[in-house]
Amino acid sequence: TRSYMPVPPGVGTEENVFSLDDILLSQERLPCRTESVFPGLGFVDKSSDSRHIPEGTKMEIPLWLAKGLYERKRRVISVELPRVYREGWRTVFGADANVVDLHTMGPYYYGLGSQMLHFDSPENSEIAQCVLQTFIGRFRRTMDSSQNAYNEDTSVLVEKLDCLERALFRAGQSGLNAFQLWEKGL
């Protein structure tokens, strides 16, 4: 129905509490390392038999938990950058952002990249720049293809897009289809 207007995702580093998109984005897992013991929670780390999660354990934990546990002053956990935001991949994006399969490398490349800024990495400035420039570099192609693909199979056009780009593509298609209907007097 056209009247269904879900809560949109937050912008930048913000999340909207009731946004289903933001809840699913914050389910993405991040490589982390425990900087203290977590007594009585050993069962959370499936690779271990211990009653506790020891200090120094490497685990993948969801973004929501990483944000909740992370403290600038007291080291409870440390959060590593996922590969796609590290220097190596940033160089690839800088060379030609259009060649990257952001669905496989993401699928929340922009959303997660913005959220990573919460963790005070010394590379925050470079990460932010890279995410922004990548968007700028790819946006034109997404927009053009969404405006030119009428009544055809678009699966090849969207397969390498991240979730944000797919939403933009759908918005473009929706506008295109509405315009075509109007032109035909429908």
Partner: protein, 145 residues
Amino acid sequence: MFCEKAVELVRELHRMSDGQLPAFNEDGIRQVLEEMKALYEQNQSDVNEAKTEGKSELIPSIKFRHCCLLRNQRCITAYLYDRLLRIRALRWEYGSVLPTTIRFHMCAEEVEWFNQYKKSLASYMRSLGGEEGLDITQDMKPPKS
């Protein structure tokens, strides 16, 4: 890992991006509330131990469980709220009497919320357009001409 059932509720709705209303997942909500109860009780116990015996090493785990409690709260309320947005949309698509098949997917409290919403909307529409009021749910598309 905690909060998996809660996220499953959210995914169930997210899959239906066209605004369809699935059946109310009472069992799912009950399971999440049970998990919250267990997490809270474990935290109560740890908090008491930390206070009375000075065991500050329990604090990271207390924090961990508290994050899980907040996550469960968020998922449940987002699930319920998104369903209300879908139900609200139904008033505009179908009018004030909903098809039986859709009503079966609503819990009693949602039906009550819908009735209150209809009243608020009707009251608002009566306040528009002079004495007769104005039905703004009609003619939502401009006429062909």
